[in-house]
C-alpha cells in the first residue's frame, strides 16, 4: 500500500502548538508512507483538491489525515477519497487537535505525540481492506413517543409531509405539561386556546394513528425498519365504544381518586376524563379506587353508560408497530422538591409547586380559576415565589438551570395581580434569566407595571406563624436578612428527565446524561439527532426547554425524518461484525452478550455456528471481545488492525 499523509494546520489551532511540517517529515519514515505534507486547512476545498491531486500524482491507495476529531470530518474526507476513486475505508484519521494541540502547550512534546498518532493511523491503514455498503428498503412511517407540544408538532409536521405517524402517549390524553398551564409567557395568551386546535388536528389527521394510555414495551430492528411493541394499558373502558359523554364520571360515587392532571390539588372520580378538551376524550377507570374492581360492588358506570363501553375485565394489550424512524418527545417531570427541609419538606399545605399554582389559576382547574389556599380556601394577599428549587443547586444533584422558571414566575406574578388586584407578590431569585424575544421586557413589566417585589437571595427557612407562613431569607443586594409573612408560597420547581426516560433510552439504544436527559448527536450541529440512526429527539427530553424551543425542535425532528425518508433505499454501514466460520466453535457466547440480538445460531454442515445479521448489528464490538478465539471480527476494527496500532505505539 502507498500511503499519503496530510498534516493539517487548522489555521493556528494545530500549528500553534504542533510543528506540522516536522510531523509530515517524520511520517515519511513510517512503513507504507510514500508521501507526506502539511496543509493549511485539509477540509477546505483547496485542501481536499490537494489530497485528490496527490492521490493521482503519487498513485496513493491509502490516506491518513492528521487533523481534528473524526466525528466531524471523517465523512468529509471519505467522500474526498471516493472522488479520487479510492474506497472510503482506505482512510484513517489521526486526531491531533482535540487529542494534542488543544490539550498541551509543549510544542516539542506535541509534535512527537502527533507523529506517534500518525504512526498508529498508518499502521492500521496498512491492515485496512476496502468495504462496501449494501442497500436496504425503508419503511416510511414514523413513531412519535410522547404527546406533549413537541411530540404533537413533530407528529403533525411528519403527517403533513405525507408520512404515516404513530403517536404514543402514556397518559389518557395528549397535551403534556402545556395542557396543564393557564397562560403562556411572554404574551399571556391562554395555553389551551393555542394548544387545543393542534390537539384536535392530531385527532382528525388521516395520517396519524394515536395510541393514548400506551407505552413502549420493546424496540427491535434498525433505522428504516424498527419493530416496536407497544403496551396499551388497561383503561377498563372500551375506547372504540366510549363517546366521552362523561355520564359515568358524573354518576361515579368514588370521589377519592388521585387527580394527577390537577397535580393532586384535588381528588377526582374513580372513572374520569382528565379535562374537557382531552384528546382522545375517553374515560379511564383508576382500579385502585374503583369499588367494582376492588370489592365487586357498585358498577354504576356500567349501568349508566349509553354505549356499554365499560369493561371491568380489560387487560393490558400488546400491539406491534413497524416504523422506519422514531422521534422521542417524552418531555420532563418536576423535581421532587420535598428534599428541601427548609421549605417544610411537604408538611405545610400552603407551600405549593408552580404547576399546582397553574392549575389553581386555570379556569378548568379544581378551583375554577380562583386562587385559594389549600389549607383553608382563603384568598391569599401576600404570595411569595421562590425560584431555583431543584435548579442550579449542586447540593441536591441538580446543578443545571431549568431555563424557563424565571419566565413563568414573572408570568405568575402578573396573573396573581390580575386575579387579586390588592395582592402583593414577592420573588426570591438568584439571577433573572430571560434571554428570549420579548422575555426581558416581560420580566421588567412584572416588576414595574405589576409591582412584583424581586428580592435577590435565597430562602433559609419557611416556618408557620398562626394561619400564615413566614419566609425568612437573605436580600443579598441590601446585605440584610428579610422575613416576609406569606399567605401562600409557590416554589419554582426545576425540571428533570421524565419518569422512565432512561428505560426508554435503553430500549431505543440512545445515550442519556447524568440527569437522564437524552443525548443529542452533537451539542451544536446535531441538536435533534441521536447517535442511533433513525432515532430523533424533540422537546424537553433532551434538556429543559420552553414552549417555543420545544415546538421548534418538534419541527426540526420532523424535517430530519422527512429528509431520511426522501430516499427509498438506505445504505447499510459495513462496519459490522463478521464471523469467521472456520474459527467459530459454536459456543454461542456472542449470541448471549449481543445487546442488539444481531447474532443468530446457524447450522453449518451439522455444526453449530454463529452468524451476524448485518442490518441489525450496530458495530459495538462486544461480540469480538467476548469470543475467546477471535472468530468474530468487527470490520474496520479487527483485532489485527487494533493490534497494529498498539504495536505502532508500544515499540521496544
Amino acid at each position: 500500500m502507498k500511503i499519503g499523509v496530510f498534516v493539517c494546520h487548522c489555521g493556528t489551532n494545530i500549528e500553534g502548538t504542533v510543528d506540522t511540517a516536522a510531523v509530515a517529515a517524520a511520517s515519511r519514515e513510517f512503513p507504507g508512507v510514500v508521501f507526506a505534507t502539511d496543509t493549511m486547512y485539509a477540509c477546505s476545498e483547496p485542501g481536499q483538491d490537494g489530497i485528490i491531486e496527490a492521490i493521482k500524482e503519487h498513485k496513493l491507495d491509502g490516506v491518513v489525515v492528521a487533523s481534528c476529531t473524526p466525528r466531524m470530518h471523517e465523512p468529509t474526507f471519505r467522500r474526498t477519497l471516493e472522488r479520487a476513486g479510492l474506497n472510503r475505508y482506505l482512510f484513517e484519521m489521526a486526531n491531533i487537535r482535540e487529542h494534542v494541540s488543544w490539550i498541551g502547550k509543549d510544542r516539542e512534546a506535541n509534535t512527537n505525540k502527533s507523529a506517534d498518532l500518525v504512526r498508529m493511523a498508518a499502521a492500521k491503514l496498512l491492515k485496512n481492506r476496502p468495504l462496501f455498503s449494501k442497500q436496504f428498503p425503508v419503511n416510511k412511517s414514523v413513531m412519535v413517543v410522547g404527546g406533549g407540544v413537541a411530540g404533537i408538532q413533530a407528529a403533525l409536521d411528519c403527517a403533513n409531509g405525507g408520512l404515516k405517524v404513530v403517536l404514543v402517549e402514556k397518559d389518557t390524553t395528549i397535551g403534556g405539561k402545556m395542557a396543564k398551564l393557564d397562560k403562556t409567557f411572554p404574551t399571556v395568551d391562554c395555553s389551551s386556546c393555542v394548544l387545543g386546535p393542534l390537539m384536535v388536528d392530531v385527532a382528525q389527521h388521516p395520517n396519524i394513528n394515536l395510541h393514548a394510555y400506551s407505552e413502549i414495551e420493546e424496540v427491535n430492528g434498525y433505522v428504516g425498519n424498527f419493530e416496536i411493541k407497544v403496551k396499551k394499558k388497561a383503561s377498563y373502558v372500551d375506547w372504540d365504544a366510549c363517546t366521552g359523554c362523561g355520564l359515568c364520571v358524573e354518576k361515579c360515587p368514588s370521589r377519592k381518586a388521585t387527580d394527577f392532571f390537577n397535580e393532586k390539588l384535588a381528588t377526582t372520580k374513580a372513572i374520569n376524563i382528565p379535562f374537557p378538551q382531552a384528546i382522545p376524550k375517553k374515560a379511564k377507570i383508576d382500579p385502585d379506587f374503583c369499588m367494582k374492581i376492588q370489592k365487586d360492588k357498585c358498577g354504576v358506570c356500567a349501568k349508566v353508560c349509553p354505549s356499554e363501553a365499560i369493561d371491568f375485565t380489560q387487560k393490558d394489550e400488546f400491539i406491534t408497530e413497524n416504523v422506519g424512524a422514531v422521534v422521542a418527545a417524552t418531555g420532563f417531570d418536576l423535581f421532587d422538591w420535598t428534599v428541601y427541609g427548609q421549605y417544610g419538606g411537604g408538611k405545610y399545605p400552603d407551600v405549593i409547586t408552580s404547576l399546582q399554582y397553574e392549575r389553581m389559576l386555570s379556569a378548568s382547574g379544581p378551583s375554577e380559576g380562583h386562587i385559594k389556599r389549600p389549607s383553608d380556601g382563603k384568598e391569599p394577599k401576600n404570595v411569595v415565589f421562590i425560584q431555583c428549587v431543584g435548579s442550579r443547586d449542586k447540593s441536591v444533584g441538580r446543578p443545571y438551570c431549568s431555563g424557563f422558571c424565571c419566565m413563568y414566575t414573572a408570568k405568575q406574578t402578573i396573573l396573581t395581580k390580575d386575579h387579586i388586584p390588592d395582592s402583593q407578590s414577592h420573588v426570591f431569585y438568584m439571577d433573572i434569566r430571560s434571554p428570549g424575544k420579548l422575555y426581558d421586557e416581560f420580566t421588567r413589566r412584572a416588576m414595574e407595571e405589576y409591582g412584583a417585589n424581586y428580592i435577590r437571595g435565597r430562602v433559609s427557612m419557611i416556618y408557620p406563624k398562626g394561619d400564615n407562613l413566614v419566609v425568612r431569607g437573605a436580600d443579598t443586594l441590601m446585605g440584610a436578612q428579610v422575613e416576609i409573612d406569606a399567605d401562600l408560597v409557590v416554589l419554582a420547581v426545576g425540571a428533570e428527565a421524565s419518569v422512565g426516560a432512561t428505560d426508554l433510552a435503553k430500549k431505543l439504544r440512545i445515550s442519556y446524561d447524568a440527569y437522564g436527559f437524552f443525548m443529542e448527536g452533537h451539542p451544536k450541529l446535531k441538536p435533534v439527532e441521536t447517535n442511533t440512526a433513525g432515532v430523533y429527539l424533540a422537546g424537553a427530553c433532551q434538556g429543559p426547554k420552553d414552549i417555543p424551543a420545544s415546538v421548534a425542535q418538534g419541527s426540526a425532528a420532523a424535517s430530519k425524518v422527512l429528509g431520511l425518508f426522501s430516499q427509498d433505499m438506505l445504505a447499510s454501514d459495513p462496519q459490522v461484525s463478521v464471523v469467521d466460520i472456520k474459527r467459530c466453535i459454536g459456543c454461542g457466547k456472542c449470541i448471549q452478550t449481543c445487546p442488539f440480538g444481531a447474532i443468530k445460531e446457524i447450522d453449518f454442515r451439522g455444526m453449530k455456528k454463529a452468524d451476524v445479521i448485518e442490518t441489525i448489528c450496530q458495530g459495538c464490538g462486544i461480540c469480538t471481545s467476548t469470543c475467546p478465539q477471535g472468530a468474530v471480527q468487527l470490520q474496520h476494527f479487527t483485532d489485527n488492525q487494533i493490534l497494529a496500532e498498539v504495536n505502532a505505539i508500544c515499540r521496544f
Partner: protein, 319 residues
C-alpha cells in the same frame, strides 16, 4: 477412599447405558495416578480413587460431546462440569456424574521437593493423614498436611456440587471465601515494582508448551487458540517474556468468571509457574463486582456472558 466399592458398584450398574466412564487408575509408578477410561466391566476393578487422583477429568468432556459419558468427580472437578453445562458446551442428558466426598489431593511438586529424586519410586501408600513413599530404596513418611495441594487446604466444595450418584458420606468444610484468597490479598499488598519483578522472573521461565491451556477444562477453543493464530495475530513467536506473559494474561481474561480454580493449569506447568494466582485474582474481582462464583449453579448465567446497560456495582456515571 472408604467407599470405593460403593462407587464401583454404582459405575457397574450405570455402565451398560454409557459409552465410557472416566475415572482414575494407577499410573506409570506407584506415586502417580492416571486417567482411566472404563468401557468394560473388567476396567472397573482397576479404578483407583485416592489423594493421588489429581487430574480434573472434566477436561475430556467437551471433546466427547455426543457420547454418553460417565465421569467421576471431586468437588472441584464437579464445578468444572457445572460450568461447562452453564456454557452449553456439554449436554446434561449425556453426562452421568459420580460424586464422592473428597478429602484433598497431593501436590506432586511438594512431594518432589521433600523426597528429591522421584524418578525411581518403589512404593507409595496413602492414608488419611500420611503419605509413605519409598524412592530409590529410601523410605519417606510425609504428613498429608505438608504435601496437600494448596486449593484443598481452603476447599469449600469437598463434595460434588452436582451429581447423579454419590458414594459415601458428605464431607463438611468450614473454609470461607476469604480463606481461599489470602494469598491474593497478600500479593496485592506488595509494591508495584515487586509484583512486576516477580512476574517478570516467573514468566521468563515459561517454555510456551501450553500444557496449562491443554489441561484447563474451560479452554475450549483448542485448535483456534489465539496463542498460535496469525489472524488475529495477538502473539508473536518471539522468545520474549512479554509474549509469554501476554498469553497468561489472555488466558486469565478468557477465564474471568468462568474459572473454577481446579488448579490444573498450575499443576500441568512443567516449570512450576504459579499461574493460578492470575485466575484467582480475576475470580476475586468477579466476586466483588458481580457477587458470583463460577460452576456452582447450572442454571446461572456467567456475568461476563450477559449484556446489561448498567451494572449494579459498576457506576460508570458517577466517577
Amino acid at each position: 477412599m472408604q467407599n470405593l466399592e460403593d462407587l464401583k458398584e454404582q459405575v457397574r450398574k450405570a455402565l451398560p447405558e454409557l459409552d465410557v466412564v472416566i475415572g482414575w487408575t494407577g499410573g506409570y509408578d506407584p506415586l502417580h495416578a492416571t486417567p482411566h477410561f472404563i468401557r468394560r466391566d473388567e476396567d472397573i476393578d482397576k479404578l483407583q480413587v485416592n489423594a493421588l487422583c489429581v487430574h480434573n477429568l472434566a477436561t475430556y468432556l467437551p471433546s466427547m460431546r455426543g457420547k454418553k459419558v460417565g465421569i467421576i468427580v471431586k468437588g472441584c472437578d464437579s464445578r468444572s462440569v457445572v460450568e461447562l453445562l452453564q456454557e452449553k458446551l456439554i449436554d446434561r442428558e449425556d453426562v452421568t456424574i459420580f460424586g464422592f466426598g473428597c478429602t484433598g489431593v497431593v501436590d506432586q511438586t511438594k512431594i518432589r521437593r521433600i523426597v528429591g529424586d522421584v524418578g525411581n519410586i518403589d512404593s507409595c501408600e496413602v492414608s488419611g493423614s500420611e503419605v509413605k513413599v519409598s524412592a530409590s530404596g529410601t523410605e519417606h513418611k510425609l504428613a498429608m498436611s505438608d504435601v496437600l495441594s494448596e486449593k484443598c487446604a481452603t476447599c469449600r466444595y469437598p463434595n460434588a456440587v452436582l451429581s447423579d450418584h454419590f458414594a459415601g458420606a458428605e464431607i463438611t468444610s468450614t473454609a470461607t471465601f476469604e480463606d481461599g484468597y489470602k494469598d491474593v490479598v497478600e500479593f496485592e499488598e506488595k509494591p508495584e515494582e515487586e509484583k512486576f519483578g516477580f512476574w517478570l522472573k516467573e514468566m521468563d521461565r515459561c517454555i510456551r508448551c501450553y500444557a496449562c491451556r491443554n489441561a484447563c477444562p474451560m479452554c475450549v477453543c483448542r485448535d483456534h487458540c489465539v496463542a498460535q493464530s496469525r489472524d488475529p495475530h495477538w502473539l508473536s513467536q518471539e522468545a520474549h517474556v512479554r509474549d509469554k506473559w501476554m498469553f497468561q494474561v489472555i488466558h486469565a481474561y478468557h477465564l474471568a468468571g468462568r474459572c473454577t480454580e481446579c488448579g490444573e493449569c498450575q499443576r500441568a506447568c512443567p516449570v512450576d509457574i504459579p499461574i493460578l494466582l492470575f485466575k484467582k485474582k480475576m475470580n476475586k474481582e468477579i466476586k466483588e463486582v458481580f457477587d458470583y462464583e463460577a460452576g456452582i449453579n447450572p442454571d446461572a448465567t456467567p456475568p461476563l456472558m450477559t449484556f446489561k446497560a448498567e451494572e449494579d456495582k459498576i457506576t460508570e456515571r458517577k466517577w
